[in-house]
């Protein structure tokens, strides 16, 4: 059997999105030896796609904003299942992390007095999102990349981690392969930070790329770590629906932040029909007030289009199901209407939403300055993931840290838009810092040859099989079923059925075969991603079955209401002694008095 190449680091970062790069910069700044591994080229991670902005209570546009408001908005959005310590640290530290990006070369859009401009977004009480038009993620990842390449970190591009190395009970690096040649690689490290992002490829309609196969969640789970909140998958209300080949591609919430409205086929603004109690006080009474809010009137309340994502997605779903949808099974999102208020609307839209303008022009032949877009929900973000300590980001495995989308806690049952980009830099930094600390305090590690041998054997097995079970068909079937059975609206029966389907798919995946050789072989890579997708899908399904209520991103038709009893628990997913999956309730630690008070005050 072919061998492998070994590298040694103090800290290994798996993933080069915003969280991974920020962690790497932090770790490298201490003089530690830092390695970064990523599946794609540097600068291409998901973070590059983020559009709308990064939430940070700097108060540049509305000086009533501060960390307390941001904290309570985040908790309300997450329906109080959040790890409150993370929500607190995030709100407190995001402004510094945003300013630091500027010091590293980021150029955010400006206010009139020359400071960082902030925009409105769903669930945020004040204009809070630092942004660059609708390409904020590009600005963030490029800034971190360009700063990071001078920090001393070593980057292994187009490499995929297959398994975490364990030494006793502690994490000791990772093992994987280089896509280009199919060469196996061992990265030995005293501490490992997972920053691998989400799971969107488990569903058919998604805004996520091929990378999002739940690798980090599955790697941690198999190594024995606890996962949390796996039932909470965010369906973004506005993805493209037509033409078919672009179905799922994101339409930024920034469109609604700039005044875009949702209408059904009868031209009715249906979002006014159903406003949840939790938000009644904060929502506009009519069209005029909503418009004034988007234009910065401090006395106006937000239009219902800017309610939280879970709610907007369900309202759209309801319109479509009731037969009031657009021709291709979505609803209309109209930004062109603002010409009623702004004389140079066309230029204004192009300047504020340049990439949306191009996306629709080039992919759908639609000029958004003149016509409405057709939109519908798309799988977007994973609130759940690796359970971590709020301060250090360490998982339940010593030496294994997680930050960014792969970690759970900050967002609870539903993430607010813009809270991810800030999450990445706040907790990326913390993970890097604490990983260094761990690496310094826990020196020597040892790599287990049997573990490596087993990993290589199972990776190469698909080449030797003769059965004609291709990886793409299995992946396709999985996405279809998860979309149908464990999607936006969930039912016990359907989810039980999904468990059966997953079992069948697991058996097929065990027989998967690939053709060709190990060199840059897409089929082989997909085959190796399958077990991760299947593991994550099972965790989502089992958690969603156990939680017998509707809350945040989880909507159950058979339990359509929120149940205060369930509000006391997070759901934990872990591996049992015989390899079976265990999902159980875990009580949420009580909120400290001062945080409780903040929430009360902001109600």
């Amino acid at each position: 059997m072919a061998g492998y190449v070994t590298h040694n680091y103090d800290v290994l970062i798996v993933g080069a999105g915003g969280a991974g790069l920020r962690a790497a910069i932090e770790a490298a700044s201490t003089g530690c030896k830092v390695g970064v591994v990523c599946k794609s080229l540097l600068g291409k991670a998901h973070t590059v796609m983020a559009e709308g902005g990064m939430a940070a209570a700097m108060g540049n546009v509305d000086d009533r904003d501060n960390w307390r408001v941001h904290f309570s908005d985040t908790m309300r959005g997450g329906q109080y299942l959040n790890n409150w310590r993370m929500a607190q640290l995030h709100a407190q530290e995001a402004p510094d992390r945003a300013r630091e990006l500027e010091a590293w070369g980021a150029l955010f859009d400006r206010t009139r007095d020359g400071r960082i401009l902030q925009r409105n977004f769903g669930g945020h009480r004040y204009p809070r999102l630092a942004h660059v038009g609708d390409r904020t993620g590009l600005e963030m990842i490029r800034t971190l990349q360009d700063h990071g390449i001078h920090s001393g970190m070593e980057v292994h591009m187009e490499c995929t981690v297959l398994t975490l190395m364990m030494d006793g009970g502690r994490c000791a690096g990772a093992f994987g392969y280089h896509r280009e040649r199919g060469q196996f690689m061992l990265w030995q490290a005293k501490a490992v930070v997972l920053a691998t992002g989400g799971i969107g490829r488990a569903f058919k309609i998604t805004s996520n790329s091929w990378e999002y196969t739940g690798d980090g969640q599955a790697l941690a789970y198999r190594a024995g770590a606890e996962l949390m909140d796996m039932e909470f998958v965010q369906f973004h209300p506005t993805g493209m629906v037509w033409p078919p080949s672009v179905r799922g591609i994101l339409v930024t919430e920034g469109v609604r932040g700039e005044g875009g409205v949702l209408k059904n086929r009868d031209g009715q603004r249906f979002m006014f029909d159903d406003i949840p109690d939790l938000y009644k006080n904060q929502t506009a009474d009519g069209e005029d007030e909503g418009w004034r809010y988007t234009q910065g009137d401090k006395n106006a309340r937000r239009p219902p289009e800017l309610l939280t994502r879970d709610h907007v997605a369900r309202c759209i779903n309801r319109e479509v199901k009731a037969g009031r949808g657009s021709p291709h099974g979505g609803v209309f999102l109209d930004i062109a209407w603002i010409k009623k208020h702004i004389p140079s609307a066309e230029e204004h839209i192009k300047k504020k939403l340049p990439s949306m303008y191009h996306q629709f022009m080039q992919l759908a032949n639609i000029d958004i300055t003149k016509e409405p877009m057709e939109v519908g929900p798309t799988t977007h973000y994973m609130m759940g993931g690796v359970r971590v300590d709020g301060d250090s980001q360490m998982s339940t495995i010593p030496g294994l840290f997680a930050a960014g989308e792969v970690a759970a806690g900050l967002h609870g049952a539903n993430r607010l838009g813009g809270n991810s980009l800030s999450d990445l830099v706040v907790f990326g930094k913390r993970a890097g810092e604490y990983a260094v600390k761990f690496a310094r305090e826990n020196a020597v590690i040892h790599s287990d040859e049997t573990q490596i041998g087993a990993a290589m054997k199972s990776a190469l097995a698909p080449f030797d099989r003769t059965a004609k079970e291709g990886p793409y068909q299995i992946q396709h079937d999985l996405q279809d079923k998860m979309q149908d059975l464990v999607g936006i609206v969930r039912l016990e029966d359907e989810m039980q059925q999904a468990l059966g389907v997953l079992e069948g798919l697991n058996q097929r995946a065990a027989q998967v075969s690939v053709e060709g050789n190990r060199q840059y072989n897409g089929g082989w890579h997909t085959a190796m991603d399958l077990p991760n997708l299947l593991m994550v899908s099972e965790a989502i399904t089992r958690s969603a079955i156990l939680r017998k209520e509707s809350r945040g991103a989880q909507f159950r038709d058979d339990y359509p209401y929120k149940d205060p009893e369930w509000g006391k628990y997070n759901l934990i997913t872990k591996q049992g002694a015989n390899g079976e999956m265990i999902v159980e309730k875990r009580e949420i630690p009580p909120l400290p008095a001062e945080l409780k008070q903040i929430i009360e005050e902001m109600k």
């Binding site: 700063h147 591009m157 091929w210 990439s355 060199q519 089929g523």
Partner: protein
């Protein structure tokens, strides 16, 4: 829609050949969709890079009917489907396999360019003040998605293979973004002339024409940089100053 033929280059650094694939096409399909369909149904091991499928990451660069383009932003209804659609990897970089090329040279080039060095913060809280009008130009450059299509089309790299002497349009744009950042205090003009080979560019504008982000590479970035070089090196007074001043 009907069927279309895709003529895709298959091979690696040791050579290869075009292979034809017939594909069912749907409305609104882009070239990347067709390539994926071929990968899923006919050639599981076909090598292709992509991420966002929305023109945002710059991964899926290739040459389609001879034109450097993003596969995910090239709609089939813009192409003549009565003829085979020819899809090849970028020519300016070594082949890895099929449509994937070795673009690592670009990452090495970037490392050599002096990093951002801001002036002291303007405000006591450590922040700066900048007017939107003063950063509009730099924001244009920062739209770059690093697809390297401009590098692919530039004759200095593509035909003359001056990879050791010329950083190419992408990194001239990158340098321009640093040089024109209102906060930056570093000087990269000497490097531009002596190490980065800005003199090789003869403003053919080919790069600007293929840029999927419509960055005005030549007029807004390269020409102003050339002017800075001229100012510093060929303005007789400044030249004297440079010789005696340094």
């Amino acid at each position: 829609m009907a069927q279309a033929t895709f003529r895709i280059w298959r091979g690696d650094k040791n050579g290869g050949a075009f292979k034809d694939y017939m594909v069912e096409t749907d409305q609104g399909m882009v070239v990347l969709d067709a390539v994926h369909r071929i990968q899923a149904e006919q050639a599981n091991d076909l090598a292709v890079r992509w991420n966002c499928k929305a023109g945002k990451c710059g991964s899926c660069s290739a040459e389609i009917n001879g034109m450097p383009r993003l596969m995910c932003m090239t709609r089939l209804d813009q192409l003549d489907l009565s003829m085979p659609v020819i899809v090849e990897p970028m020519h300016a970089f070594p082949s890895i396999r099929d449509l994937v090329t070795d673009v690592s040279w670009n990452f090495e080039v970037k490392k050599k360019i002096k990093k951002f060095k801001p002036r002291k913060p303007d405000a006591p809280d450590g922040t700066w003040r900048m007017q939107q009008a003063d950063i509009d130009r730099v924001q244009e450059f920062r739209k770059c998605i690093e697809c390297f299509l401009c590098q692919d089309v530039c004759h200095v790299l593509r035909e003359h293979q001056k990879h050791d002497e010329f950083i190419g349009p992408r990194f001239l744009v990158y340098t321009a973004a640093l040089e024109m950042n209102p906060l930056d205090t570093e000087d990269r003009v000497a490097d531009l002339k002596e190490r980065d080979g800005i003199g090789y560019c003869n403003i053919t504008t080919c790069c600007r024409q293929v840029c999927p982000e419509h960055i005005t590479i030549t007029e807004n970035a390269i020409i102003p940089l050339k002017e800075r070089v001229v100012d510093q090196y060929f303005d007789p007074l400044k030249k004297l100053f440079r010789i005696f001043g340094a």
